[in-house]
C-alpha cells in the first residue's frame, strides 16, 4: 500500500487550498497513510488547519526560522529527509510546488510526474502536454518512489473530517544551503476573490487597451463577486500584474463561471480554462476562436456591452 507525504503550501499562517486538492488526489491513489508536512518558522496554526482535513493520518511539522519563506533550495533537502518513509511525495502544481518538487525529485534521483489531472491508480495518471492539446497516460514504476505535482483545477478540495489528525514535530537533519536569500514579496492587491479558488472569474484581454480601461472588468467582477484574470497580451501590455495571467504559462483555473472579455481564445489561453463550468465570451469578432469553446457567446463592442451587462445584474 502507498504511504503518501503531501507538502503543505501556506502563506501568512494560512493553509493554501491547493493542499486540500492534493489530498483529494492522494486519496484516489489508495493509500494506507497520508501525512501532510508543514515547513514553517511557526507551523502550529497551519498544522492545526491541515489536521482537520478529512483522511489525513498525521501532520508533521518542521519548525525552523529558515523555513519562514518557502525557498525550494532550503526546503528540498528537508523534504528528502522526511521522504524516506513514503512511497509518494506530492505537492500542488502551483508556483510553489513547481519550484520545489523537481528539486526534491532530483535529489532523490527520481523522475517527476508533473500536473496530474486524473488518478488512474497508485502509479498511473493522466497529465496534459502541449498546452493541454494532448492528454497522456503515464505509468510510474511501482518499485521506485513517486514524486508528483497535482493540477489544482482538476480536483475539488477535501473538506474537514469528523476527527482531527495528530500533529507531530518531525526531527529533520539536513544541511541547509545559504546561497539563496528571500528579499521580499510584492503581493498583488487582495481585495478580490483569489483567482485560483474563485467560483466566478472575469478576464480581460488586449482589447481593453489600457490599465484605466480595465476598470470596466473590475466593475463587472465586483458586481458578480468574481476574481479577475487576464490574457497574456493584457499582462504583457502592462494593463494588469502578471499574477493575473490565465493560461498555459499562467494560472490554470476551474471556476463555475468564466467570462472572457476581449480575449481571442488562443490555445495557450484556453488551456487555462478547459475545466471551467460555463464559459461566456464577449468579443466583437464573431469568428474569434473563443466562441468555439464558449457555452454562451455575445458578439459586440465590450465597451458598450459590459456596462449594459453590469447594469442588468
Amino acid at each position: 500500500m502507498s504511504k503518501i507525504l503531501i507538502i503543505a503550501e501556506h502563506a501568512n499562517g494560512q493553509l493554501n487550498p491547493s493542499t486540500a486538492k492534493c489530498l483529494t488526489a492522494a486519496k484516489q491513489m489508495g493509500a494506507s497513510a497520508i501525512d501532510i508536512a508543514v515547513f514553517a518558522a511557526e507551523p502550529a496554526g497551519v498544522a492545526a488547519e491541515a489536521a482537520k482535513l478529512d483522511g489525513v493520518s498525521r501532520v508533521l511539522t518542521v519548525a525552523n526560522a529558515a523555513n519562514a519563506n518557502a525557498l525550494a533550495a532550503v526546503l528540498a533537502p528537508q523534504v528528502v529527509a522526511l521522504a524516506a518513509n513514503y512511497t509518494h511525495v506530492l505537492g500542488p502544481s502551483t508556483t510553489f510546488g513547481k519550484d520545489l518538487l523537481p528539486r526534491v525529485a532530483a535529489l532523490l534521483g527520481e523522475a517527476q510526474v508533473s500536473d496530474i489531472m486524473k488518478v488512474l491508480g497508485s502509479h498511473s495518471f493522466q497529465r496534459p502536454i502541449y498546452a493541454g492539446n494532448a492528454i497522456i497516460t503515464v505509468e510510474a514504476p511501482k518499485e521506485r518512489k513517486l514524486v508528483a505535482t497535482v493540477r489544482n483545477a482538476s480536483f475539488a478540495a477535501t473538506g474537514n473530517g469528523a476527527t482531527t489528525a495528530p500533529i507531530e514535530a518531525a526531527a529533520v537533519s539536513a544541511e541547509l544551503p545559504a546561497h539563496t536569500r528571500f528579499v521580499e514579496l510584492q503581493a498583488g492587491a487582495k481585495d478580490r476573490p483569489d483567482l485560483q479558488t474563485a467560483s466566478r472569474v472575469v478576464s480581460g484581454g488586449r482589447a481593453l487597451g489600457s490599465a484605466e480601461n480595465f476598470s470596466v472588468i473590475y466593475a463587472l467582477a465586483d458586481k458578480l463577486g468574481a476574481g479577475v484574470g487576464a490574457s497574456r497580451a493584457a499582462v504583457d501590455a502592462g494593463y494588469v500584474p502578471s499574477d493575473m495571467q490565465v493560461g498555459q504559462t499562467g494560472k490554470i483555473i476551474a471556476p463555475e463561471l468564466y467570462i472572457a472579455i476581449g480575449i481571442s481564445g488562443a490555445i495557450q489561453h484556453l488551456t487555462g480554462i478547459k475545466d471551467a463550468g460555463t464559459i461566456v465570451a464577449i468579443n466583437k469578432d464573431a469568428e474569434a476562436p473563443i466562441f468555439e469553446v464558449a457555452d454562451l457567446g455575445l458578439v459586440g463592442d465590450l465597451f458598450k456591452l459590459v456596462p449594459e451587462l453590469q447594469a442588468l445584474l
Partner: protein, 248 residues
C-alpha cells in the same frame, strides 16, 4: 563569466497539435519546429548580460537528434559564441536532460545557467530545478527580472501571489518567464556569421549519463472537447441565459 543556455527544439507554438488516431503519439512529421519560446528568452537574457560586460561568453546547448544543427545555428545567429550539440535519437525525460546538462556544466564551469521555465511540448517545468539540485547550486525559477550585483544575482520571480524577489549566489540556475525580455530578431548577416561559429558535437552515449527515464507514456489522447455553445443577441439575453443555468 560563461553562461550556458539550454536551448530546446520543440513543435512551434502556432501548430495545432494532433494526436495520432492510434493513440501512439502526436503528429510531428512535417510540422514546423522552433526554439522553445522560453529558451529564446533565456538566450536573449544571456546575450544582454554579455553586452553589459557581465558575461564573456554565451554557449547554447541542445540535446537532440543529428538534424538539430540548424536549430543550434539559429541560436548562434542570435548571438551565442558557440554551440554544443549532444546527439541522441530518443527523447529524454527531464531528469536525464538535467543529468546531461550537469555533464556540460562540469566541463564548461559556467557562472550561470539559464533555461526556460518550461518547454511547451511536454510542459514539465522540471529541468532547471533538477539541474540546480544535482549541481548543488541556487535556483531562481520563473524570472521576470535579473540584476547582477557582483557575485549575487537579484531575481524577481513571477509567483502565484505576485512577484517574489530573491538573492542567489553565483553560480546559479535561472529559469525564464515570458516577461523577462523580448528576444531580438535575427538579421541576415547574423545567419551568415553563424555559419563559421564553433559547434561541438558529443554523442550522449559517450557522456556516461545514468538514465532517469523512469516514466512510461502508455497512451496519447485528444483532450475532452467542449461543445460549441449558443450565441445570445444582447446583454439581457445573456443575463437570462445565465439565470436559467442557475449561475446568477
Amino acid at each position: 563569466m560563461k553562461i550556458l543556455v539550454a536551448y530546446k527544439r520543440v513543435v512551434d507554438y502556432n501548430v495545432r497539435i494532433q494526436v495520432k488516431p492510434d493513440g501512439s503519439g502526436v503528429v510531428t512529421d512535417g510540422v514546423k519546429l522552433s526554439p522553445n519560446p522560453f529558451d529564446d528568452i533565456a538566450l536573449e537574457e544571456a546575450l544582454r548580460l554579455r553586452e553589459k560586460g557581465v558575461a564573456t561568453e554565451v554557449i547554447v546547448a541542445t540535446i537532440a537528434p543529428a538534424d538539430a544543427q540548424a536549430h543550434l545555428r539559429n541560436g548562434l545567429a542570435m548571438g551565442a559564441n558557440r554551440a554544443i550539440h549532444v546527439t541522441t535519437d530518443r527523447p529524454l525525460q527531464p531528469l536525464t536532460a538535467a543529468r546531461t546538462l550537469l555533464k556540460l556544466v562540469e566541463k564548461e564551469q559556467p557562472g550561470l545557467v539559464i533555461l526556460g521555465k518550461q518547454a511547451i511540448d511536454d510542459d514539465c517545468s522540471q529541468t532547471g530545478q533538477m539541474l540546480a539540485a544535482l549541481w548543488g547550486k541556487a535556483q531562481a525559477t520563473s524570472a521576470s527580472k535579473v540584476e547582477v550585483n557582483g557575485n549575487v544575482l537579484r531575481v524577481t520571480r513571477e509567483v502565484d501571489a505576485g512577484l517574489e524577489v530573491l538573492d542567489v549566489d553565483l553560480p546559479a540556475v535561472v529559469t525564464t518567464d515570458l516577461r523577462l525580455n523580448e528576444p531580438r530578431f535575427i538579421k541576415l548577416p547574423d545567419i551568415m556569421k553563424a555559419k563559421s561559429k564553433p559547434m561541438e558535437t558529443i554523442a550522449l552515449d559517450t557522456l556516461g549519463v545514468e538514465s532517469g527515464d523512469h516514466l512510461k507514456t502508455t497512451q496519447y489522447a485528444p483532450p475532452a472537447k467542449r461543445s460549441k455553445g449558443v450565441m445570445v443577441k444582447d446583454a439581457a439575453e445573456l443575463v437570462a441565459a445565465l439565470k436559467s443555468k442557475g449561475l446568477l
